[in-house]
Symmetry: C2
Subunit: 308 residues, 2 copies
């Protein structure tokens, strides 16, 4: 089968979205055609430091609200900033609680105009520092810190566990506050890297696998973070998927009706359950059983799923 | 079930695209949440006339190729231009074979800059006339002609049959030429309105339902146009859907494997076939049969479908 294409509507069902991100459960993709976007004429990046993640969160909302569409908008918290700066020397401010890295691209005149608008918005949100790149070298250096954030955290901790959840952007301060509380409860430090424009959070839980029980505690902390994402109106994953890791958390996010319907889709592609078994669904029913469940949908339960 | 949302990825299958445009075959949508986009600061529209549809088609390709994203880009052929102008007096040129109506929006400075670039591209494609709106009133008048094109055609013909197919933009001249030939063969006139940016064609076949056999000839002509769309790499519909009208043309577009897979999706939502029966699929198999077809997919055929 070939799915998608240049056209907007082809008749028949649009299966492209179903197969994209289906984690290998529906079929084997043997060929992908992508559209190459035109490289923008130019790009500039601005580093904006804040005394609190609340201020940074407000700034993200105001940038989006002003109709500016950044090419990238990343946020790092104090532990992530410090780790990255010590590793890469990107010129990040060390006296701030949150750092926003915002890139805009397009024709030169438009980019300069947008940078000016970003600076005005930043100051209206009590930015402590605000520095726009003045050259391509400086722009790349600003990004080098962010891009090295994961290995940088690897330098300060024997191991780290990278989580991936998505939250409504406006809930970031609340989520960061709750995460600090959980961090104390579990006795494990966290560094946060956040695709702020998309609301996609990557908390890195720092731990030491050689200390007995610490990995298990880390995994529990991670599951708590994902439950927190769902509680504030977010979702279990941003880009890393569900797989085995988040499989047993699916009922936190989806109702029984949702999960049954998703399994019927699975059966519509793979009625023998040959593809990537054991992933994504906490309980995978036989396809023949699902037919019966559909008829008696009101009485179906998930007896085997641990509830969190 | 709730599908979609603000997040990019929720875990589980993305069923939003499947249900969107499923023509009522998968379920009943009871609530839709939409995102309101910010109204652009300003907009201007340019009318570009060409001596041939080839020139107009080239211009569309060059505009898209230059990275300009118009807010609208419509094309009308000579019969559609004439009917609209006589009805609305929008100021359309009457001595051209194809008219492009291109709108760009955004901040004022950007809009003026884009209009200038559009004019340069138009002249490089041998435009005969090129006129940009100088006021909001003029912009609305330019659109009034296009928006009245359907009723305008209704004034010059007792009846018309509106088709809806999509083609790769570059194939427009070829498709218009073939449509003129079919028009002569069937003895029926056609006026063409085309969402040029999307490649979505709306040929209006002019006929008189009171003349015996003319509706049947019109329907055959319409089916030929849709087959032509698929032949040049396009699809059966742009925005009007399949329904009953194009149901028997589905095998022109989709293979047996495609149609079987689509019916399995239908069964995953509606295994009793209660929803909108008789639409979209030329032969709808019972869901239990589809299970068997899946196992013996190599041997399945569509014995009941008329081949065109």
């Amino acid at each position: 089968m070939r799915l998608g294409g240049k056209h907007l509507d082809a008749g028949g069902y649009d299966l492209l979205g179903v197969v994209t991100g289906s984690e290998g459960l529906l079929g084997i993709v043997t060929e992908i055609t992508v559209r190459i976007l035109k490289k923008p004429d130019g790009a500039r990046t601005v580093l904006i430091g804040f005394a609190s993640s609340e201020d940074a969160g407000e700034c993200v909302g105001k940038v989006i609200g002003a109709g500016i569409i950044p090419a990238g908008m990343e946020m790092m918290d104090r532990p992530a900033i410090r780790a990255a700066e010590e590793f890469v020397h990107a010129g990040y401010p060390l006296d701030v609680d949150a750092l926003l890295i915002v890139e805009v691209d397009g024709p030169r005149a438009e980019v300069d105009h947008l940078i000016m608008r970003l600076e005005v918005i930043a100051h209206s949100c009590r930015a402590v520092t605000c520095r726009a790149s003045r050259s391509e070298e400086e722009r790349l250096l600003f990004w080098a810190g962010r891009k090295a954030a994961f290995p940088a955290v690897g330098r300060i901790s024997p191991d780290y566990y990278c989580m991936d959840g998505t939250i409504p952007r406006a809930r970031l301060p609340q989520v960061l506050k709750r995460m600090r509380e959980l961090s104390e409860t579990y006795g494990l430090a966290v560094a946060n890297v956040f695709h702020a424009g998309d609301g996609n959070l990557h908390p890195l839980i720092l731990y030491d696998a050689n200390r007995p029980g610490e990995l298990e505690r880390t995994e529990k902390f991670g599951a708590d973070i994902l439950r927190l994402c769902v509680e504030v109106g977010g979702v279990l994953t941003g880009e890393h998927g569900v797989g085995v890791e988040k499989r047993d958390l699916m009922p936190v996010m989806f109702s029984e009706a949702d999960l049954n319907q998703q399994q019927r889709i699975k059966c519509a592609f793979d009625d023998k359950g040959l593809l990537n078994p054991g992933k994504v669904f906490p309980t995978l029913h036989r396809c023949a059983e699902l037919g019966r469940m559909h008829v008696h949908a009101g009485r179906v339960a998930f007896p085997d799923i641990p509830r969190f």
